[in-house]
């Protein structure tokens, strides 16, 4: 590829900020960065891009290391039989294996027995084509994606409350201009460092920051007020705050009357959360709750921003409703510099949920159960509405039932690593091993790829073009900067080839621009309307905010200023009640485990663990324990400890810190093997969003020295599928100990 004078403007391969960056080919010999001979590409700032204004975190700065051939897959791999190793294969052989496997499963078990598991990191084009591939080429209802594990609770609540789900209803930069931010369950100083500047500017302007987090994170350290609730009690806190707002007369009665519905029922529920009770439920002193209410309510403008800490619960949807209700009661939504927002996690967590890889959705954020939407989409796809499958099961349910009667028998995984990222991961690993066919398309040889029958090496961010929609709802364009390795194909090429071999030569183009044009047409008239967005406009305008229904439409940076997207234009207040976490502590499992991310790594770590600088910064998993708890447990700093729940055991070094509550321990979830946090986590699902309860489960912590045998669990990589003698878990209640 020729090197333009100013390099290639593109976006980071990681999180939902989608920071702008410029990629430049290093001239041979100048070696601006030592990337190895095969990846002479450097990352530079793109100061004009509004989200990050040139700032990048360590992950973004080191992203080109992923282009190194040593870090990535370079050729298709197939497995010849159970227990044998993956071996290199030609594309033709690999694709034929996939097709014959699909056909035999379909013949024996029906079309729904072939499942598709997508990812929130896929571009809009890929997410769109993947959904179409599943429903048209495979004819299966079984498609969902790892975004179910990300922001599905917020999405469900926002859809119900506002009629439209876009992570932030305003540009990120508005955060700097508001008067008070209530940040719930987000450690953005570590997870989205370039966004921190907006909190800094907020503070410089005299705006206030309230952080709600059980841990005293680097983000919480910047807060004017830090509330530390027990894990799983955010909903009680939100209700308690609304109670105080009602009692002290902070409610914006005019706003509530003019722009909301359902307030009477919400007020009645909030009455049951008086301060003394809420203090007991949450552990947050009543005077701090009152201080937070006053700080937030008295600010002329304010925002509530939630992230996974508040959402990844079996009551995540209701919890988000709790926060939205608070915003609405105080009139802090649907006005300039005010609103509720969800800090989406994955790179295309927003776009990925809009274009049809979700079990119940069609492109444009249409509903798969809406007859009008089915008719519209089927017509554009050249099939009848009757041929369009109905909604399938959610991500965890698909994994949980894989290889069982009624579950999928074959699974195609694109851009996801559920062996590390799914809850109760030992069990998920066993389910994947039980499949007749597992196909993984990925950039790297992930832990999930290690279990596959066929591994398809796909191109990655700098090697292909495509759009993503960041957490603001801004559609951005990643541009191809380098050629992928010779035997690597793009996901679109893979889908196109598979569709052709399944008899669908038409309708599955491999050119991203053609796919995007089709997406625009299909999304037109839907809630997430991309009709007026083009690659050219994105380039000229530094991204375009959806909805953008026509070429001349300016896009919509700020939503809901006039009315909400509900049928009556009013935001819906939903009466919700607090309930206990799915798994409470007891004598055997006396502590709560919370999980989360660290600065140097991203999600399952499949990418970042392959970058030397990031590996050096955070080489290993750890268990954060309060020193007083550690002393009682007989645990010393740096010593290995086991963290055991009813589902399994993880092992990692103890890290002593007073930043965590003594009744809680923390583990980052980026690692596989013995240190895999998700071996321990609880798959209890939210009844609405089907979000698993990643963020809290009951555990016990012991020094490894105190145990008799080294722990098992999670060490399955590379051993092939269907290992004889692997224990089979039968249910979460059976307290499986794989020791």
């Amino acid at each position: 590829m020729n090197e333009p004078a100013d390099g290639i403007r593109t976006h980071c391969p990681y999180c939902a900020l989608q920071c702008g960056m410029v990629l430049r080919q290093s001239r041979p010999g100048t070696g601006r960065r030592d990337q190895g001979a095969a990846a002479p590409v450097t990352v530079d700032a793109w100061p004009q891009f509004p989200v990050n204004r040139g700032a990048l975190c360590g992950k973004g700065q080191s992203a080109t290391e992923l282009l190194n051939p040593a870090a990535r897959l370079g050729t298709p791999l197939v497995r010849d039989g159970y227990g044998t190793a993956l071996r290199p294969a030609t594309w033709d052989e690999a694709l034929e294996r996939v097709i014959s496997g699909i056909r035999s499963v379909q013949a024996e078990h029906g079309r729904d027995a072939v499942g598709v598991f997508g990812g929130g990191g896929l571009t809009n084009e890929k997410a769109y084509l993947l959904g179409k591939f599943a429903r048209v080429a495979l004819g299966t209802s079984a498609i969902d994606y790892n975004g179910r594990f990300c922001m599905s609770s917020a999405a469900a609540a926002v859809n119900r409350a506002f009629g439209l789900d876009r992570g932030l209803p305003f540009p990120l930069a508005d955060i700097a201009e508001t008067d008070c931010v209530l940040l719930v369950g987000s450690n953005l100083a570590d997870t989205m460092p370039p966004a921190l500047r907006y909190l800094t500017q907020l503070a410089e302007r005299g705006g206030r920051l309230i952080v709600v987090d059980p841990r005293h994170t680097r983000t919480a350290a910047r807060a004017d007020l830090h509330l530390r609730p027990l894990p799983g009690t955010d909903l009680a806190l939100a209700l308690g705050m609304l109670h105080i707002a009602l009692a002290e007369g902070h409610v914006d009665e005019d706003f509530v009357a003019a722009r909301t519905s359902g307030f009477a029922a919400v007020r009645a529920t909030a009455m049951e959360y008086w301060p003394a009770r809420v203090e007991g439920l949450t552990g947050v002193p009543a005077h701090q709750i009152r201080e937070a209410v006053r700080m937030f309510a008295q600010a002329p403008t304010g925002m509530v921003l939630t992230a996974r800490g508040s959402e990844q619960h079996s009551k995540g949807t209701d919890t988000v409703h709790g926060w939205i209700n608070l915003c609405l009661a105080l009139g802090k939504v649907g006005r300039p510099l005010s609103g509720y927002g969800c800090l989406t996690g994955q790179g295309n967590g927003q776009g990925g949920r809009e274009h049809g890889q979700k079990a119940d959705q069609l492109p444009g954020y249409r509903s798969l159960t809406d007859p009008v939407a089915r008719e519209h989409t089927a017509r554009l796809w050249g099939i009848t509405p009757a041929e369009l499958p109905g909604p399938g099961t959610s991500a965890y349910e698909m994994l949980d039932t894989a290889g069982t009667p009624g579950g999928v028998r074959a699974m195609l995984v694109f851009g996801s690593n559920p062996v590390v990222s799914a809850p109760r991961a030992d069990h998920v690993e066993q389910r994947l091993r039980a499949l007749d066919l597992l196909v993984v398309a990925d950039v790297v040889r992930s832990e999930t790829a290690e279990l596959a029958d066929v591994v398809l090496p796909s191109a990655q961010w700098a090697e292909e073009t495509g759009t993503l929609t960041n957490l603001e709802g801004r559609v951005v364009l990643r541009r191809k900067a380098v050629e992928p390795p010779a035997r690597v194909r793009t996901d679109l090429e893979i889908l196109s080839a598979l569709a052709a071999r399944l008899g669908r030569a038409e309708g599955f183009p491999a050119d991203p621009r053609l796919v995007f044009d089709e997406l625009r047409t299909v999304s037109a008239g839907g809630p997430a309307d991309y009709a007026g967005i083009s690659y050219e406009r994105i380039t000229e305008e530094n991204g375009v905010f959806w909805p953008c229904p026509a070429d001349g439409h300016p896009g919509t940076p700020r939503l809901f200023l006039e009315s909400f997207a509900t049928p009556d234009g009013r935001a819906r207040m939903m009466p919700v009640h607090h309930r206990s976490v799915a798994e409470t502590t007891d004598e055997r499992y006396p502590l709560y485990l919370v999980t989360g991310r660290v600065l140097a790594h991203y999600q399952s770590g499949a990418q970042t663990r392959r970058v030397a600088a990031l590996r050096a910064a955070a080489p290993e998993p750890y268990v954060e324990i309060h020193p007083s708890r550690a002393r009682r447990l007989g645990v010393l700093e740096g010593e290995p400890v086991t963290v055991t729940s009813r589902r399994g055991t993880a092992v990692a070094q103890a890290r002593l810190s007073t930043e965590i509550r003594p009744d809680v321990v923390f583990m980052p979830f980026h690692w596989s093997g013995p240190g895999r946090a998700n071996t321990v986590t609880n798959p209890a699902l939210d009844p609405v969003s089907r979000m698993p309860e990643f963020k809290v489960c009951a555990v016990r912590v012991e020094p490894v020295a105190a145990r008799q045998a080294p722990p098992g669990g999670g060490g399955g990589a590379g051993r092939g599928r269907r290992q004889p003698g692997r224990p089979r878990e039968t249910g979460s209640a059976s307290a499986v100990q794989t020791l």
């Binding site: 009602l246 009692a247 009455m271 008086w274 007991g280 009543a286 007083s628 003594p662 009744d663």
Partner: protein, 418 residues
């Protein structure tokens, strides 16, 4: 107790009764539920009554929701229980059968003085704050009161006095103990609490009891123990409550202070009769606050619905909290043990329980914190004025494991390792 509970009869629809009914319906909609609600207002949230008096809530706001489909008998009381036939005769003479009878009759306020002629009626200007009816009447009649007096310096009396002062009234609080809340607080905390009240505009008369009211048609004053009369045009008595157990007693159930129940909340006398809330006595304790009442209601609903037949109530270690604009107080367990009286001061008798007291005070800022421990467990304490460590203290009080050697974290956030 039968596995097939089809008809449940609930006597009383206060905090415990209303919660129980709601949970039972949610867990098993097939159970037929009849509720006798003796009060004039439908079920409401009693802990919020002082908030209604303060103007924080309208009376309609504090209603407790009741599920549809229950048979609610408003204004009806239970007259008699016939345990042999498992029937209850209501105050209108109607007979009701039951598989399970739940007594949630609550408590009644103690009368500080006798009214031989009209025991049930109050004179003009004479008030209490036990029901919503009481509250609304007081709220209306206290307007313009020139010399309001609150009798009883316990939790409710202190809170009521603060609310009346907050409404701009020149209120006097009369308390028979030597210091305020003398059954719960030690002298130091009581004195500091008095200062806080005086700062808020409440005049405090401690160490003297109210014997009777003066005035023939309306209240003119309170006659104190020394026979002096404190002028008063409005008197609120807040002299504690006692469990309402007449029905249970007449039915021949075991009653001490409250209806004696086991961990399943069953009467120890009759397996078909249960008691929850203020009228129940569990392991020798009458829990007279809302949160334990709700816990009991949930346990009983889980059992009677068939949802969890093994659910048990094993007691509640709750902090009594008083949260007002100018006062923040938590008191729990054995809080009156004096500083220096702990056996930990000088080696006690070998093998005897070792009681220690940890104390911190800041008179200027009206802060007082005290933690009583026995054998390295927190058994009681007081936090007044600075509740920053309330969560740590609560956890320590609830915990089964012993405390670490360093305990300053219980009283100060600078105390290090919680």
């Amino acid at each position: 107790m039968g596995r097939h509970v089809r008809r449940v009869l609930v006597v009383g629809c206060g905090m415990a009764g209303a919660r129980f009914v709601r949970r039972l319906t949610a867990l098993n909609p097939d159970v037929r539920i009849t509720v006798f609600d003796g009060e004039r207002h439908p079920a409401y949230n009693r802990p919020l009554l002082t908030g209604v008096l303060a103007g924080h809530y309208r009376s309609g706001d504090i209603a407790l929701p009741l599920p549809p489909g229950i048979e609610l008998r408003a204004g009806v009381r239970a007259g008699a229980v016939h345990r042999a036939t498992r029937t209850v005769i209501d105050s209108a003479g109607v007979e009701h059968g039951y598989d399970a009878l739940v007594l949630a009759t609550g408590s009644r306020p103690e009368q500080p003085w006798r009214h031989p002629s009209r025991p049930e009626r109050s004179s003009a200007g004479e008030h209490r704050l036990h029901t919503l009816t009481d509250c609304l009447r007081l709220s209306e009649e206290c307007v313009g009161a020139r010399s309001p007096v609150v009798v009883g310096g316990g939790l409710l009396g202190v809170e009521t006095a603060l609310v009346l002062a907050g409404r701009g009234l020149p209120v006097t609080l009369v308390h028979q103990g030597r210091h305020l809340m003398h059954r719960r607080l030690d002298a130091k905390a009581g004195a500091l609490l008095r200062t806080v009240l005086e700062d808020a505009g409440v005049a405090v008369r401690a160490g003297t009891s109210a014997r009777s009211l003066t005035g023939r048609t309306g209240v003119t004053g309170v006659r104190l123990a020394d026979s002096s009369v404190l002028a008063a045009d409005l008197v609120v008595s807040a002299c504690g409550t006692r469990p309402r157990v007449g029905l249970a007693r007449r039915a021949g159930l075991a009653v001490h202070a409250g209806v004696v129940v086991d961990d399943t909340l069953r009467s120890v006398t009759d397996p078909h009769i249960h008691a929850i809330g203020d009228c129940a006595e569990h392991r020798g304790v009458v829990h007279d606050t809302a949160v334990p009442a709700w816990q009991q209601a949930e346990v009983l609903a889980a059992r009677l619905s068939g949802h969890d037949r093994h659910a048990r109530f094993t007691g509640a270690r709750t902090l009594t909290r008083l949260i007002a604009d100018r006062l923040d107080l938590a008191v729990f367990g054995e809080a009156t043990t004096g500083v220096g009286t702990g056996t930990g001061v000088r080696g006690g008798i070998e093998g005897a329980a070792q009681t220690d007291v940890l104390c911190l005070s800041d008179d200027r800022h009206r802060v007082y914190k005290k933690i009583v421990t026995r054998n390295d467990h927190v058994v009681g304490g007081i936090l007044l004025g600075d509740l920053s460590t309330v969560d740590t203290v609560r956890r320590a009080y609830e915990a089964t494991e012993p405390l670490p050697p360093n305990r300053l974290h219980l009283v100060t956030e600078l105390g290090g390792e919680g």
